[in-house]
């Protein structure tokens, strides 16, 4: 680090005036800074207390135990009007996490496909992917969210004229997207157990194969074996146990669609917009990552006698992932933060429920804003901690 204020006091500093002494200066600056900060925080703290006393708002987190008294459109945990404000915080948090996870999964899949498509040798495919990326990246996300929401609300038909997709198992209308809902029956636990066992066994096989290859050079098709194990073992058990799962299909009954898993139009629009927007950014990251692996690497792999498959799997992808993953995690973080735009269309996420309705009802601005910001802050700090860990783990080990 190069910093010119860094002190190097000479022994005969008696000749220098004290205000020219770097050490003294540095301490003086910091004392002034601290004094200013203390004054500043005291100033706003004092004002806040005075303003609060005037408007009769009590300070503290006691409001979290009071009855909320408002309904929430959608909740993953049990919630009704008689629950507390603390509960509304949880409901909002869960909804934020739900849409973030859904968005991250979908955006990763679409983004990787688009990124590869941009590098396609097929001119049409690569140009279409480019047009997609350049269009979606340059339009504000909020606009996209509102646009899709309005489309879902205004242009889709009512329940009676629902659009039928995938042989009537998926229905789409102005009230939401209806998916078939899996209903596990008794004995489904065995299938889950089989899946867990298959995963554990696969991990063991991969380790063993790796060790054996290190020791003897013999290869073992561990990927195929573990893939087969994880996919087919649970399937086998599933049918052996007599297929203990049924689907509840959405169907029109009376004036509304009954059964099935209903995604609210708010959630569908938000999910869709977040996915499409973030996928455009992920596509660019993936493209840059693949292009970042120099051509010499694959040539060297070919020269060593590796065929196309192993070259891609053992040489190109590991190096591309090293470039891709850090910006990818920050895109995930952006997606989670962007999910707060849900407020604009009324999807009950953390900002909308807690920073919106709860804040308006209680007036506890400072506490609520601090809690909401703390949630996002801890999310982003933990993701960047992960990123740092990953970077050190994956960093090139050079001589």
């Amino acid at each position: 680090m190069a910093d010119p204020t860094q002190s190097r006091t000479t022994s005969n500093s008696s000749k220098t005036a004290i205000w020219n002494d770097p050490t003294f200066r540095s301490i003086a600056y910091q004392v002034i800074a601290v004094a200013f900060l203390v004054w500043f925080f005291y100033f706003i703290f004092d004002n806040t207390l005075t303003n609060r006393a005037k408007s009769g708002v009590t300070t503290g987190f006691g409001f979290l135990d009071e009855t909320a008294g408002f309904g929430i459109l959608m909740s993953l945990i049990d919630y009704n009007e008689t629950n507390t404000y603390g509960r509304t915080f949880l409901v909002g948090l869960m909804n934020t996490l739900l849409v973030s996870v859904m968005g991250i999964i979908a955006a990763t899949i679409i983004g990787f496909i688009l990124g590869v498509a941009r590098l396609s040798h097929n001119w049409l495919v690569s140009k279409l992917a480019t047009v997609y990326v350049e269009t979606l990246r340059n339009i504000p996300l909020l606009l996209q969210i509102i646009f899709w929401y309005k489309i879902l609300r205004e242009y889709l038909p009512g329940p009676r004229q629902s659009i039928h997709l995938v042989q009537d198992s998926v229905l789409l209308n102005g009230r939401g997207l209806y998916l078939p809902q899996p209903v596990p029956e008794s004995g489904f636990g065995i299938v889950i157990a089989a899946f867990v066992i298959a995963v554990v066994v696969s991990v063991a096989i991969v380790r063993w194969a790796h060790k054996r290859q290190e020791a003897t050079g013999q290869q073992f098709p561990s990927f195929l074996v573990s893939f087969g194990l994880i996919v087919f073992a649970p399937l086998l058990v599933f049918y052996a146990a007599g297929a203990p799962m049924s689907f509840s299909y959405p169907a029109l009954k009376g004036f509304n669609v009954q059964n099935g898993l209903r995604l609210l139009p708010e959630l569908t629009a938000l999910w869709w917009a977040l996915t499409m927007y973030t996928a455009a950014f992920i596509a660019e990251i993936v493209r840059a990552g693949i292009q970042g692996v120099s051509h010499g690497q694959s040539e060297a792999a070919h020269a060593l006698g590796l065929r196309n498959g192993p070259t891609l799997r053992l040489v190109v992808i590991p190096q591309a992932m090293r470039i891709i993953i850090p910006p990818l995690t920050s895109q995930y973080l952006n997606l989670a933060k962007n999910s707060s735009l849900a407020t604009a269309i009324g999807y009950p996420d953390l900002v909308s429920v807690f920073m919106g309705t709860t804040l308006n009802q209680t007036g506890q601005a400072v506490e609520i804003v601090a809690m909401t910001m703390a949630v996002y802050l801890s999310m982003s700090l933990s993701i960047s901690a992960f990123m740092n860990w990953f970077n050190t783990k994956m960093a090139l080990v050079e001589r």
């Binding site: 204020t5 540095s26 004002n47 707060s340």
Partner: protein, 367 residues
């Protein structure tokens, strides 16, 4: 003895040149590729044909009679956009004062247009003008209340003009704050460094919408009684805080790229800290990070739409309000496409500009 005479070159096979050759290498290079091409072409036929029909062939571009647009058979109703264009551009700014906004638009174009031309000689002074003189002049022109100009309260500001104002103030105010924060983050004084790190990471860790909420509900609480903050000013403070944290990180990247020898040489010349920063380090670092600054500006520009949530009438909010008008039928899609197009033109233009700069500044060292 007969002289050696080369036979004339044969023409390359017809299937590898010209249009056919291009098709064969780019679209039909293998059976799989051919199948993909055909499928994509079919899907494009299914989607783009109705889209073009809606947007162009059966669209209404101008009309005296709104009712035409209510007809289901008619495509896009661009006449609606044309009818409200003034509102979308200037918001509810008083009609007889619009010339003031127009002057600002013209100044903006004049100060940034020449930056795109390689040969223009006064780029640097123009840049300084657009960061210092231009904001002041524009503020006086837009706000009024002095120099004989009639005052226009901020709640009359709106439309595209407001979007540009917010984005511009965001960038101009965030730049100096960002520079100070970036320097502070690299300082050797622990108190200053810690403060800067906390400040930067705090703002970067939270979504802009929560910052806007905070500035709109908490700023009035923080100030002594009777201080009355303008709604726009509150939003601007929030955006500036948020933006300066991102700016600081971009500038820090530039500072880190300056070799140590530059700092040492500046010290050896006897320059003080601020002098060495001003004369040696910053000119080099800022030049390096111009593309990064443009990229953060693009992000900020898109994010200005969020002010809609705290009730400011930027271009998106204005359009949202206008498309409710039932006399035009459903003009939802048209309105949104118009806003999307406005943003797209600005953002795409700026991103192209930043890519060009990146290539220009990337002298050597490229493997």
């Amino acid at each position: 003895m007969s002289d050696f005479k080369a036979l004339p070159d044969l023409a390359p096979p017809a299937s590898t040149t010209g249009f056919v050759g291009w098709l064969r290498t780019n679209l039909f290079s293998s059976p799989l590729n051919s199948v993909v091409t055909l499928i994509v072409l079919y899907v494009m036929y299914l989607t783009f044909v109705p889209m073009f029909d809606w947007a162009i062939f059966s669209a209404v571009f101008s009309t005296d009679n709104n009712a035409v647009c209510k007809d289901e058979a008619v495509g896009a109703c661009w006449a609606f956009i044309g009818d409200r264009l003034n509102l979308f551009t200037y918001g509810s700014y008083p009609a007889e004062q619009i010339w003031r906004l127009n002057i600002c638009f013209a100044l903006l174009t004049l100060s940034f247009g020449p930056q795109f031309f390689e040969a223009f000689p006064y780029k640097r002074s123009l840049g300084i003008f657009s960061l210092t003189v231009f904001p002041v002049v524009s503020f006086i022109l837009i706000k009024g209340g002095m120099m004989g100009l009639e005052e226009v309260p901020t709640d009359r500001w709106g439309g595209l003009a407001l979007t540009l104002i917010i984005a511009y103030v965001g960038i101009v105010a965030a730049l100096p704050v960002g520079i100070v924060l970036a320097l502070g983050r690299r300082s050797h004084m622990p108190v200053i460094r810690t403060f800067c790190i906390v400040f930067i990471e705090l703002w970067r860790g939270v979504p802009l919408i929560s910052v806007l909420f905070m500035s709109s509900v908490m700023l009035p609480l923080f100030m002594p009684e009777g201080t009355n903050f303008d709604k726009l000013l509150r939003a601007l403070i929030g955006i500036t805080m948020f933006q300066s944290a991102y700016m600081a990180e971009v500038i820090r990247g530039g500072l880190q790229a300056i070799p140590r020898g530059q700092y040492e040489a500046a010290k050896a010349l006897g320059l003080s800290y601020w002098k060495s920063m001003r004369l040696i380090i910053m000119p080099q670092a800022l030049k390096l990070v111009i593309p990064g600054i443009v990229n953060t500006f693009i992000a900020l520009f898109k994010d200005t739409t969020l002010v809609l949530i705290i009730g400011l009438l930027d271009i998106l909010a204005t359009v949202e309000a206008q498309i409710q008008d039932p006399s035009w039928g459903k003009v939802n899609v048209e309105g949104h496409i118009f806003v999307a197009f406005c943003f797209w033109v600005f953002c795409f233009g700026m991103s192209r500009y930043s890519q060009k700069l990146e290539r220009k500044l990337h002298t050597g060292h490229k493997r």
